[in-house]
Subunit: 364 residues, 4 copies
């Protein structure tokens, strides 16, 4: 696609590990292979909406150091609000989508690579549609809940961080005969929880996709103790629910007020139902990860190279994806349909249950 000369790239939404690796791969491919210019937009869509425009030209030299291994995004990803309903200083909101398009045109860009989660894909594809801007998406999110791809950038790093935390909680649980509850990210999907529960040797994994029962958890704890172990590890996604939706809602609105979160809620109930002491840990932003995992660096590199090739071939309004054993791409409209849940009949829940992990009610 000889026409393309100027490529924009931005990161949008919550940061995670591997974003810089994507930007690096985009720059390497565009500059080394195609001889294009690459412009990194600062702080997501706002960099194109604000005046003066905020961006920097990206060259190979920027990546000769440790950028591949650095967490977060050096382009920044500050969210100042929905561009279609942008909050103004006077308290009103305004549709600023044309400012975005105008910024794109002022920079004389030919196409835009957007690295984001499912929410960002939706907003950015709408913004691009306004101006007829050719966009290629690259999926990233620690939650791994983007449709169309087996893996999003940042996910395996988050699973590593959580698994490592379980490795550290295990010996203290065993030394003190405790139930350790680890609350992890996952409001809509249990990908982090189920993966880390298997890898970290947990006994209970609560996920949004499958409702749990407190008495079943207590029964599992009894079972573990009868087998001769004196401690229990639980991984709890922040969005996990009981069968009774209402109770769950209560517990969580509760959580906002009285508890630190679902972990605290479970801790109180479980310590009442068993003889073991309970302790809660909530990993919070540490899960965003720092240094990307080997796998996230590879995924990021594959996506970055492929995204540039897609622009070169004019395959626009699509998102890079990892399926089976390689990189491919999918239409953005198949992606922008909300978060992707864990498949309740997939390998992971089966493996977890096969190991004896309690993953909510089987026949809920």
């Amino acid at each position: 696609m000889g026409k393309v000369r100027r490529l924009g790239v931005l990161t949008s939404g919550g940061d995670c590990a591997g974003l810089n690796a994507v930007i690096r791969a985009v720059t390497y491919r565009a500059v080394r292979t195609y001889g294009w210019k690459v412009f990194g937009i600062i702080d997501g869509s706002t960099g194109l909406m604000e005046r003066p425009l905020r961006y920097r030209e990206l060259d190979l030299d920027m990546f000769s150091g440790t950028m591949l291994r650095e967490g977060g995004t050096f382009l920044g990803t500050v969210n100042r609000g929905d561009p279609f309903n942008y909050p103004m200083p006077d308290g009103s909101t305004k549709d600023r989508s044309l400012d975005f398009v105008d910024g794109f045109n002022k920079l004389a860009l030919d196409a835009l690579i957007v690295i984001g989660g499912d929410g960002s894909m939706k907003i950015l594809s709408q913004l691009c549609a306004v101006g007829g801007i050719g966009m290629v998406g690259v999926p990233k999110t620690i939650d791994n809940d983007v449709h169309g791809t087996d893996f999003a950038v940042g996910f395996t790093t988050a699973v590593n961080v959580v698994t490592e935390a379980l490795d550290r909680l295990h010996p203290t649980a065993a030394s003190h005969h405790r139930v350790m509850i680890l609350e992890v990210m996952g409001r809509d999907a249990g990908h982090i929880a189920i993966n880390s529960a298997i890898s970290g040797g947990a006994d209970v994994a609560l996920i949004p996709e499958v409702p749990y029962r407190l008495d079943s958890i207590a029964r599992k704890i009894d079972e573990v103790i009868r087998e001769g172990r004196n401690h229990v590890l639980m991984v709890v996604a922040e969005g996990c629910k009981t069968e009774d939706g209402e109770l769950a809602t209560k517990a969580q609105s509760h959580g906002q007020m009285r508890y630190g979160g679902i972990g605290q809620y479970l801790s109180e109930h479980i310590s009442n139902m068993t003889d073991l002491e309970t302790r809660v840990t909530s990993l919070g932003h540490v899960q965003r990860g720092g240094t990307p995992s080997t796998r996230d660096r590879l995924l990021a590199s594959a996506f970055g190279v492929h995204a540039v090739d897609m622009v070169a071939e004019g395959k626009l309004n699509r998102m890079t994806a990892w399926q089976e054993r390689g990189v491919t791409d999918v239409p953005l409209e198949e992606v922008c349909i909300g978060p992707r849940s864990l498949d309740p009949n997939g390998t992971l829940i089966k493996v977890a249950r096969g190991l004896g992990i309690y993953v909510g009610e089987s026949e809920a």
Copy 2:
């Protein structure tokens, strides 16, 4: 000391990384060098108080695997209460110190090595005094607040875990232009906080030893931003205080009710005082550490070997210690005087301030 043939060893108080490495070194030294028998008491002092006695004989083979590298204590350290005021099933308390002495005698032990923090050293030395039991202490605590020794086992591992968390919080703080507050252990002493703040590149370190002021924190944040940075890292020991003791008390009793802890309290105030968003992470039990650091394994090994030598030489009622560049020992009565604070005129606070870190008010 030809007479000693049967050596007891127990772990007491909160677990940490490196306890198994001490037990290993004790066993290696006692069995290989002296040909003694070593008995590991289960769950601290309770193992000698309960009937049947709970213990296991330790042999070299137990340590041929990964024990050196495992966190926690394979002997357990469950605390059922003060032996001098032991809680009975009927709700009353009872002095069970003689049960402890009787247990020691039933096992026909010649001496006891106690691995514990300052609280455990005190209780165990009192228990041993009741029965004229020869005791050698080995200091352990992630807080590093044991008198008489530069380092206690478990401390550097905890610092590593906290520093690693800062390494992970840094890129997400930078990507989103945030103030990241990391709440760490340290109710009475700021050893973990000050070490990790220096190693992890924090801008603010709040410790129990030096009162802080909210407006000074806000001023430091402004300064950082004026220097051109868009994010701030804070490490906050759970026991840090404002100048006004009463306010601190309010904040913390507050903390019990309304906040998750001091981190939450600071977060609310700081987000009101600056333009940056704030986020709080509380590492909790993850700080107990899992796999011990290289340094903790070395310290644990040195203490274990030296403790056995002390028994062999009849140097009893003393604690192993690390001073300057080697292992030595100190009398237990010099240790059992409460937690050791950070020296306000020591190298660490000076270094922190030298780097520009805000460590509370200088001339409070």
Copy 3:
């Protein structure tokens, strides 16, 4: 399959990370779900060939500690020679396959789970065929060169170790303006080399599947330097070759005598062809890995559970496999056809070249 009551499991061939995690998953599934007995055979096939039989019954309690996270195999995997041509003390060889079958029968086993690489799959399936023994294979090898599965247990841990080494070599290369050559495992396949080269930011990746040219390497080094970088990272699989097969053979037989290996050979030639100093590192057995990666633990767990289910369902003489996003199984005869090479048209080589990495001659 109600009949199965006694399940054997053994590890065969070179050790790697995640073997204990497979054994744990097999035991958890067999004991918890099916109520079977599980017998771990010591030191691979030799445990069944020798008298007395060498094995231990596996119970849940063995895995309550850190086994999931421990490298190697606690069952051992000592190879004393080909069972069909077993070396005898007098220097002769003997077919001892019937001893193996007899051992299986003496233990009254119903089926055997074999955790091994492609060589072990072949030998063990032949041994099992002799006695009509029902076997299920679980693929493991750091080289990832087993047919029929996207991933074998142990591979991603090895890639992590190599990538971490590149992360450590990068700053020293940059500080001293050097070409760092990292020699990694891979006699027949370049899976480790290509994955770690991408993840670790290498400039050159030499693999057995694609012949390289020394002058092309020198040209790549020049290119990097013209781009403004002062250092170069190379990952070299031990089995990489030049276009001229004969030269490669000379270099490698050479390697046996004069050089430590292919890395040394390349180092001498490259330092003659460029202005940069060269240094070689050969990671050796460190690549076998220690603590398994999160991914290897998941893979191991999935394979262990599925292998037991296969036995339960009578799906024998097959190997567990990971394909697309889940666990499945393939016939052993499709596996036992030698090592699996890297697909020269697959995603990985394309990504590597897309980033500008030299991966041998494109149109060789």
Copy 4:
């Protein structure tokens, strides 16, 4: 010291982890506290010797990213030869010390902070003496063999890397019943070897300070096996020697030709003397470390701050040092007396032997 306005800083000799952390601390202290200008000299002394001068002014912003955590030195440390006998293009050598002094004066520097090992301290202090340049040294070396300080920057990171390698070699040794020999840096001193041998659970540690005997090693291996273990870990400093100096010399000159090094030499002899297989790993440049350990970052920070304070106070021609529990300084002439050996009567060798590790002949 109001006069000082312009401070130079350079790194000299082999790189290690923590150099950037020193430079950061120097810059933070000099700029934030004193308001000075700081100039980083590129590639050690050569940056001042070459024309145009090679340097960059250092500001706070350079360190807002990950510099604290990056290995190596971003200033570079390329050695082009002894400045007093500098190799010229025509093959002759020339005293270029006056070029160095002239460069210092051209940059109008007031003082120079030199981060280097014992060799660099010597050369640089001689260079500075030529021009009456005020110098402050900061000790760094993975070998920890600088006189006057308990720790040099980079050492504990190297020990961590070696210990981690032992953690990885242990399970493969155990799985295959092997003697694993790990060759580590340490031509003149055994600091790395003895520390990592204790921390990594080795059975044998050979160091330059204490001669070893092959038959004693074989005896130790027998002992381990009699105790019931089937594998042995050895850590071998590259400069270790037998009692018979001549033999050692032969072995090592031998090493240059026939062996990869002392590890290979030992491997051949040990496999002849025992029933176990042997394997050798040589970590090489990986020991330089990448991301500095928590301890090295703290040490680097303390040294950087203190070095600037020394300049401010006019305490010149001295080196920062860590003694007991804090930072101090020592005269350079006490440092420049060759490498510092391990104290044969110090804690470390005693601890190692107390654990049963063979550390050469006791009464050689």
